[in-house]
Structure formats: structure tokens, C-alpha cells
């Protein structure tokens, strides 16, 4: 697809963001059957398989990076159309308020269901056993105050603040000269594609090397350097794609090579990482692991962008509906999923059936909830930015959502 005009809806970006969100459910549901996180994950099931690890961690390396590219893209778009003040007004309503509203609800629901599971599940995971023990001894510490799976909303707000900081710090009083940040973006855009593909992973490596492999979610309320160092460049990448649309399709013809390269790099990564639990991983993963992970992240993100342009460039009502629903699904899926998986733990089904049932039920409940309660109600307005109960005509440029 050619670069979009300034006001056309970007169906590919909408869809990619939705996929990244929906894949989050697949990821979190799968963790219950991952041998690597067995000791740490509350819903860890008796049944698990290495193939889950092999799939999940591959997805994990580029799912959120892709999401941040899309977020950066829409951020640049919003700034273009509404200015920085408009960006912040929009983002406060669409990101900060939903975060503040849903965070305590999700936190409470997860804590409640976990405590309940610890008391009732007959085949508890190691973490549930530990909770149950703590409950019995009366020494259970309160759940740590962290952002949980909503960390990305929290970090998005930081990213917007960073966008403002960098623009303000490098702006020129004179209107004639382009501000420094725009000049830097211009120079980056002018670099040949292979430089991006080789240099960007190297830039990400120190951040990945400073945390465990696979990288954790930066759930702490205090911002983490590595999270900015890892997700920040992806956000900047998306920002650059919007500012310089001519760069969008530059990497498309490399996609098959990048896909094969990513699979090879990931095989090596998985070979180095597998066989130990996350718990055993040292505080810092080794540099080769970090470098391989960084390559997979960048290359697979690029492949996804190409696929998005190729397959999701045209409007499609079902995809659009799913894209609209994805934010809601992602925000609320975890308590639903955990509640289901806690009940599945005592069943003697195979892990694959449990995985399937957990996924199907979670999606079904969230989607039905979306259609029945959210889409035309105030929550839909909050999350979707669209006017109450009314579809915005497709010719009207939408509020880019994230």
C-alpha cells in the first residue's frame, strides 16, 4: 500500500495494534502452560510443554515492540493534527483516565481471585502454594503496588511526556529553521534500510542485557531505564514512519529474509535460554542472548509492519469491529482469564485443551461484554473516543486510538 494521505484512516496500523493487543491474551493464557515460568506464574498448570515456551517467547520479543511502533505512529499523527496540547488532552482521556479507572479494578479482581484460588484449588501452582502458606501463617504481604499488565498505558504516558520534552528542548525560537528533533528524524529517515536493520538492534541490546531473558514487564511504578531504552526506540520508529511516509515501504522487500533471519536468530536465542526457569536466570541476561533478542524484535516488527500493509490495508467491517474491541479486551482480559484458568487447574484435561478453552472463553466473555455493555456505553466512549452510540462515518478521519 502506498503512504496514506494525511487524513485517511490507517486500517493496517489499527489492525496491527489490535493484533498486538489480542495476542496479549494468547500470551498470558499460554504462560500457564510454560515450563519456564512454572515457579512464578499464579495460574501455572500441572500440564505444560516446551513448545509453548518456544512459541510464546518468540511472540513476546516483538508483540509489544510492534505495539509501541503503532503508538509512536499515531502519536506523530495526533501531534500533526492537533498539536502537543491536543495530544495531551486526547491522551489523558484515552490513556490516563482508563488506566486510573481500570487499574484498581483489575488489581482488586486479580488479588481477590488469586486469594480465593489459593484457598480452594486442589492442584495449586507453586506461587499459589506460597500464597496459601502465607495465608495460613498470617504472613502474607500485600500485593505490591504495580501497574500489572496495564504497564504499557503507564509507559505510553511517559512516552508522551518524553515527546514533549524532546520537542521543547530542541525547538528553535525562529520559525524559519527546522527544529533539531525534526532534522534528526530527517537524517534517520534518509539512512538506508539495512542500517536501521543492523544498527537498531545493537542500540537495544544494552537495555535487554540489563534484564533477565525473556525480558520482564516493567510493572514498577517507578520508570525503568531499560524499558525506555528498549521500547523507546520502537516508539520513535513509529513516530518517524508517520513523519516520513516515504520510509514506510522501504523494508517491505526484505520481509522474507527478515522472517527467516528472525527464526534462525530466535532458534539460537531459545537454545541459549531454554532449559532454565526465569527464576534461575541471572539478573542480567548474557550479551549474546540480548543481541539475538534485539534482532528478533526489530526484524519481526518490520515483518509485521509489512504484513499489515499487505493484508490489512483495506477496510473490513469485522476487522474494524475487532480493532475497536481490542483495547477493552486487553484491559479486562487478565482477571477473566485467571478466573477461568484457576477453575481449569483441577481438571484432568491436557494442557492444549485447557489452553484452547481458556482462550476461547476469555475472548468470548470479553467480546460479548464489549458488544453488550461497552461499545455503545460510556466505557466505549472512554476507550474508543467515539461519540456515544453512534458510528463515525468512515470518511471522517478517526481519532487515532492507541
Amino acid at each position: 500500500m502506498q503512504a496514506a494521505t494525511a487524513t485517511a484512516r490507517r486500517h493496517d496500523m489499527d489492525s496491527l495494534r489490535a493484533l498486538a493487543m489480542l495476542a496479549g491474551v494468547v500470551f498470558h493464557a499460554g504462560l500457564a502452560y510454560s515450563p519456564m515460568v512454572q515457579p512464578l506464574f499464579p495460574t501455572a498448570d500441572r500440564g505444560n510443554a516446551v513448545v509453548v515456551d518456544a512459541t510464546l517467547w518468540f511472540l513476546h520479543l516483538f508483540r509489544m515492540p510492534l505495539f509501541f511502533v503503532v503508538a509512536g505512529f499515531f502519536t506523530a499523527w495526533l501531534v500533526e493534527r492537533r498539536g502537543l496540547a491536543g495530544l495531551f488532552r486526547n491522551r489523558v482521556r484515552r490513556i490516563l483516565v482508563p488506566f486510573l479507572v481500570f487499574w484498581p479494578i483489575v488489581h482488586l479482581a486479580l488479588t481477590r481471585s488469586t486469594l480465593h484460588a489459593a484457598a480452594t484449588v486442589e492442584h495449586p501452582s507453586p506461587l499459589l502454594q506460597w500464597v496459601a502458606q502465607g495465608q495460613r501463617d498470617g504472613e502474607l504481604p500485600g500485593a505490591p503496588l504495580a501497574t500489572g499488565h496495564l504497564w504499557f498505558l503507564y509507559y505510553l504516558m511517559w512516552m508522551y511526556v518524553l515527546v514533549w520534552c524532546l520537542r521543547a528542548l530542541t525547538s528553535e525560537p525562529s520559525g524559519s529553521a527546522a527544529p533539531a528533533w525534526a532534522r534528526v528524524l530527517g537524517r534517520l529517515a534518509a539512512l538506508p534500510g539495512w542500517v536501521w536493520l543492523l544498527v537498531l538492534p545493537c542500540l537495544l541490546t544494552p537495555s535487554l542485557a540489563s534484564v533477565t531473558a525473556p525480558h520482564p514487564a516493567p510493572e514498577s511504578l517507578l520508570p525503568r531505564f531499560w524499558a525506555f531504552g528498549f521500547f523507546g526506540p520502537f516508539f520513535a520508529w513509529g513516530y518517524l514512519l508517520r513523519r516520513h511516509p516515504e520510509t514506510e515501504s522501504r523494508l517491505d522487500r526484505n520481509a522474507p529474509v527478515l522472517l527467516v533471519g528472525s527464526l534462525v536468530a530466535y532458534s539460537a536465542w531459545f537454545f541459549l535460554v531454554s532449559g532454565r526457569s526465569v527464576e534461575q536466570a541471572t539478573a542480567s541476561s548474557s550479551w549474546p542472548v540480548a543481541l539475538l533478542g534485539a534482532f528478533v524484535s526489530v526484524w519481526m516488527t518490520s515483518v509485521c509492519l509489512t504484513c499489515g500493509r499487505r493484508w490489512f490495508g483495506r477496510p473490513s467491517a469485522p476487522v474494524r469491529w475487532l480493532a475497536d474491541a481490542s483495547y477493552w479486551i486487553y484491559v479486562v482480559h487478565l482477571p477473566v482469564l485467571f478466573a477461568i484458568q484457576y477453575r481449569l487447574m483441577d481438571l484432568d484435561w491436557g494442557w492444549s485443551l485447557k489452553y484452547f478453552v481458556a482462550l476461547a472463553l476469555t475472548y468470548a466473555i470479553c467480546l460479548v461484554g464489549y458488544q453488550a455493555l461497552v461499545r455503545h456505553g460510556p466505557i466505549g466512549w472512554l476507550l474508543g473516543g467515539r461519540s456515544h452510540g453512534r458510528r463515525v462515518a468512515s470518511s471522517v478521519p478517526p481519532v487515532p486510538s492507541t
Binding site: P173, S174, G175, S176
Partner: protein, 294 residues
């Protein structure tokens, strides 16, 4: 008659300076030149009229409203530029124009663009890089483009090069074509005042020493050259502001000249050789030196 401003019994006291007590009015649609040496009180008077300084005593009305009580309403129709007023150095002129345009509904963008061109100013240049002349012109642009009913200018032409001065005076002259708009501008340059003002006020050591229509000033004052040996005391009349002898020649500077003076001089033994009109500067200097009313 409507007045652009009127002050009555105005006094303002600083440790080393005392203004007042002043009574002064400017009819709407007129331009008044305020002439005085440095420290005469011109700036203080202008600041009081804009609400930047409060008087100790007296009544001040600007555009029919009492000051400083109604200063917000007054300042909506007021333009004020003074020599010591600065714009934000780090910002461009465009930024200032946008700021002013948001505040004043009457902002005339087309006129602003025209003034930009005429003053040869760059809107996207940071004001910090402006020369003195450019700064004055920028301030004037910001004031004129909002189309104020009363424009107060403190020493607008001081320190300008001849070209910039001509540009500024031209722009001011244009404002005056609109009979609804009034201007009060101070200067110690009488040439500028002479060129523009309808009314002229001399301010000296905080007091008004003269305030007249310009034409009347020029009509009334004369320099008379006479010959004769009569003593000075013989011409110690109230209308003679200054007298100087050089040999047998006597030079008199006379306020309120009329033909009767020739005869009175002749009667006193002084034969009038020539009568000359006086420049405003000459009138001003003479007035200030004698320290009296014109």
C-alpha cells in the same frame, strides 16, 4: 466634547522628583506632543495614564473611564509603547503578534503585514536580535495593528536613525488621518513634535509650563531684532520672554506678539529692524529657560 484623557490635580511624588499638580486634557481625535527635557516627568505622566503607576492624588480619566479603577477596560482600547519597554528576547515577533492578536479582538492582521513590510521587519526573527530601531518599530507595529483608540508613545523616535525615524513618523501620521483616534507622544525632539502634533504641551520639572495648539504657539511667538541704546529695563514687559544685546542690536523673544509691540518698542527708543517666526525648539528652550508660562 469627548476627551481621550483628562487629568485633574494630578500629583505623584518620588524621592527626588515631584510631578504636579497637573491639569491636562486631550480632545478625542487629536495628537498631542509632550515636550520636555529628560526627567521632566513625561514618562511618569504616560505611566499614570496607562495604569502602570498610580498617582498620589488627583483624578485621571482615560477614554471616559476612571483610572486605575477601570484600567482593564481602558487598556483594551489603549496602545502604549515606551523606550524602556522590552519584548521577550527569546521569542519571535510573530509570537508576540499572535499573543497580541489573541488578546485584542480588533487586531488587524492585514495592517500588521503591511507594517511588517514597511518597517522591513522579519516576523520569524527572535526579538533579542533586533536593533534599537527594529525594536521600536516592532513595538509600534504591535500597538498600531490592534487599532487602539488612544495611543500613548514615550519617546518613540529617540535614538532612531533618520530612515527609521521617517518610517515611524509616517506610520504615526497615518494613524492621525482617522479622526476617532488620539495620540499622546512625548519627545525631547521638537522637530518630530512639530511635524505631527495638533497640540503641544511643555513639561518642565514636573510642571506644565505651556499647553497650546501648535499653530497658536507658532503664531504667537516672534523673534524681534531692534536697534537702539535703550536699557533692558524698558522692555521688561510680560510678553517679552528673553532679551539679549549685542552692541547696538537687541534681540527679543516675544510670546503673544502683536503689531502694538512695534510701536511700544519705537516709543522706548528701539527701532524694529526685522521680525522672525520662531521654531518650536526655540520656543521650547526659551520657555524652559525663563521657567515661566508661555
Amino acid at each position: 466634547m469627548n476627551f481621550a484623557f483628562s487629568v485633574q490635580g494630578l500629583t505623584k511624588r518620588y524621592p527626588h522628583f515631584h510631578l504636579g499638580d497637573l491639569d491636562l486634557r486631550l480632545p478625542e481625535g487629536q495628537i498631542m506632543g509632550l515636550v520636555g527635557v529628560n526627567g521632566a516627568g513625561k514618562t511618569t505622566l504616560l505611566r499614570i495614564l496607562t495604569g502602570l503607576a498610580l498617582p498620589d492624588r488627583g483624578q485621571v480619566e482615560v477614554l471616559g473611564l476612571p483610572m486605575p479603577g477601570q484600567q482593564v477596560a481602558v487598556k483594551r482600547d489603549l496602545g502604549f509603547a515606551s523606550e524602556d519597554m522590552r519584548l521577550y528576547r527569546s521569542r519571535t515577533l510573530r509570537w508576540h503578534m499572535d499573543l497580541i492578536a489573541r488578546i485584542y479582538p480588533g487586531w488587524d492582521e492585514a495592517y500588521a503585514s503591511e507594517l511588517l513590510r514597511r518597517f522591513d521587519l522579519r516576523a520569524d526573527q527572535a526579538v533579542g536580535g533586533f536593533s534599537h530601531g527594529q525594536r521600536v518599530k516592532a513595538l509600534l507595529l504591535l500597538n498600531l495593528s490592534r487599532r487602539p483608540r488612544l495611543l500613548l508613545l514615550d519617546e518613540p523616535t529617540t535614538g532612531l536613525d533618520p530612515v527609521a525615524r521617517a518610517e515611524v513618523l509616517e506610520a504615526l501620521a497615518e494613524v492621525l488621518r482617522d479622526e476617532q483616534r488620539s495620540v499622546l507622544f512625548s519627545s525631547h525632539n521638537t522637530h518630530d513634535i512639530e511635524q505631527l502634533a495638533d497640540t503641544i504641551t511643555f513639561l518642565h520639572q514636573g510642571r506644565i509650563v505651556a499647553s497650546e495648539e501648535k499653530e497658536r504657539f507658532l503664531d504667537l511667538w516672534r523673534r524681534i531684532v531692534c536697534q537702539g541704546d535703550a536699557a533692558f529695563e524698558q522692555v521688561d514687559w510680560p510678553e517679552v520672554a528673553a532679551a539679549r544685546r549685542s552692541g547696538s542690536l537687541v534681540e527679543l523673544k516675544v510670546r503673544r506678539f502683536d503689531d502694538g509691540i512695534r510701536e511700544r518698542l519705537a516709543a522706548g527708543g528701539l527701532a524694529v529692524q526685522s521680525v522672525h517666526p520662531m521654531s518650536l525648539e526655540d520656543i521650547f528652550v526659551t520657555t524652559v529657560r525663563t521657567g515661566g508660562a508661555a
